[in-house]
């Protein structure tokens, strides 16, 4: 008989009752999520603040651009004419400014592409 696999440290012998395991599962998962909620980290939407106020783009960083934002709001925050954005990504010129960015996504346009474009434009690069 191979006894090498049966050499155990005393701590390795501690049994966990199945129900205690289930309680551990719930406690760990709910505990981490609960800590996230209590600390205000658990944000399920970028559209509103923890106080429930609507988030608007400020033009400080391209990282704040989200898919739910309207192309017009982004254009205003970054002081870029809406037609320039539409033309840069071959989007229809008659696109309403209130259209959400995510509704414009295609092979040619994405939120990430817009972020990159605005970042390059902000540095003055051609």
């Amino acid at each position: 008989m191979d006894t090498t696999t049966n050499v155990r440290h005393p701590a390795a012998r501690r049994r966990i009752p199945p129900f205690a395991y289930g309680i551990l599962v719930i406690a760990v998962f709910a505990g981490v999520v609960g800590i996230g909620m209590a600390s205000g980290t658990f944000q399920t939407s970028g559209r509103t603040t923890a106080g429930g106020e609507r988030v608007a783009p400020q033009g400080d960083s391209v990282a704040e651009i989200k898919g739910w934002m309207a192309v017009g709001d982004v254009a205003a925050a970054w002081s870029v004419p809406v037609p320039d954005i539409l033309a840069a990504f071959d989007l229809p010129a008659d696109t309403p400014p209130a259209t959400a960015l995510k509704d414009l996504e295609s092979d040619l346009f994405s939120v990430t592409a817009l972020r990159d474009w605005l970042a390059v434009r902000g540095t003055g690069a051609p």
């Binding site: 701590a11 129900f19 289930g22 981490v32 999520v33 399920t44 972020r115």
Partner: protein, 311 residues
């Protein structure tokens, strides 16, 4: 002085056989009286919560108001965005801080309780369990279905050699999803993700994710938890962390009666009956094997040092 470990020899001499300890496994509804009832209750509760979020979102969106995105409760989003978050401090589109918190919760659970998220909480895993339960119910009550499934199993038996290599596919999916998000700044896995398809089922047009979801559920009629076994990147991340877990199932060869019920009951197809310790990254901690075991003490959850007593 070095402390010597205690040597315990698992053999017939160390534990006398006790026939009274062998009990008949509970089946059907009776099985829900044990820890499986507890697990199913947790799964149903989580699934109902997810259903509520999806319906609530659909109602809120229909009313033109703003609400939480169903995708914000997907733990894998937090893992996909990990590179962009650590390097640039930003989330890829469709990811919120809640995704990151959930990812931490899942990985903490993986360390402390192995794959318990998959076995106890994940609604996609629960849906696959339901499909497998439906398949078993139909086979029990319709003889033709039973015979058909038996014939199908015989016909597909040679394909069993593919099981092991295909299990590595989920690690490739995990690498692709994280790499894609880091390089392209978008969730490349999102379009094929059945979980996202499920969360967005009330508002998205039918995409490839819905097709993957349908294939997963149809596949679960024939193979237990096919998505978890072969393709789930969250399960892959779970498994990688679980390798460091101090918790594992251990099988006592002395108490085992070699009935093979544990292996037959394992939804992940693990060979529990021939292992000494179940340290597989694929173990989802469902405890189906423990529940099926007819011999008290033959199969138990134990806590010890990580990497110890591997089988």
């Amino acid at each position: 002085m070095t402390r010597q470990p205690i040597v315990i020899i698992d053999g017939p001499a160390s534990r006398p056989p006790g026939k009274a300890a062998i009990r008949r496994p509970r089946r059907g509804i009776a099985a829900l009286r044990g820890v499986q009832g507890f697990r199913r209750a947790v799964q149903v509760t989580v699934a109902l919560y997810i259903a509520w979020v999806v319906v609530d979102r659909a109602v809120v969106a229909a009313a033109g108001a703003m609400g939480a995105s169903p995708e914000s409760i997907c733990p894998f989003g937090g893992i996909e965005t990990i590179v962009t978050f650590l390097t640039a401090g930003v989330f890829v589109p469709h990811v919120h801080s809640s995704n990151l918190v959930l990812a931490v919760a899942v990985l903490a659970l993986a360390f402390l309780a192995r794959g318990a998220f998959c076995g106890w909480i994940c609604p996609l895993g629960f849906l696959q369990d339901l499909a497998a339960g439906l398949s078993a119910f139909v086979q029990r009550n319709i003889p033709a279905a039973f015979r058909g499934m038996r014939a199908l199993r015989r016909w597909a038996a040679p394909l069993a050699v593919l099981d092991r290599p295909l299990r590595y596919l989920k690690y490739a999916v995990l690498a692709w999803a994280i790499w894609g998000a880091a390089v392209f700044g978008v969730m490349v896995f999102r379009d094929v993700d059945p979980w996202i398809a499920l969360l967005d089922i009330g508002r998205e047009s039918i995409g490839f994710g819905v097709v993957v979801l349908a294939l997963t559920l149809v596949g679960a009629l024939f193979v237990d938890r096919p998505w978890c076994r072969y393709a789930c990147p969250l399960g892959a991340a779970n498994g990688l962390v679980a390798r460091f877990s101090p918790v594992r199932l251990e099988r006592s060869a002395a108490a085992c009666v070699d009935c093979n019920l544990c292996t037959r009951s394992c939804p992940m197809g693990l060979a529990v009956a021939t292992a000494t310790a179940i340290t597989s990254a694929d173990c989802i901690g469902c405890l189906e094997c423990v529940e099926a075991c007819p011999r008290d003490g033959a199969l138990e959850l134990r806590i010890g040092l990580p990497f110890g007593n591997r089988a």
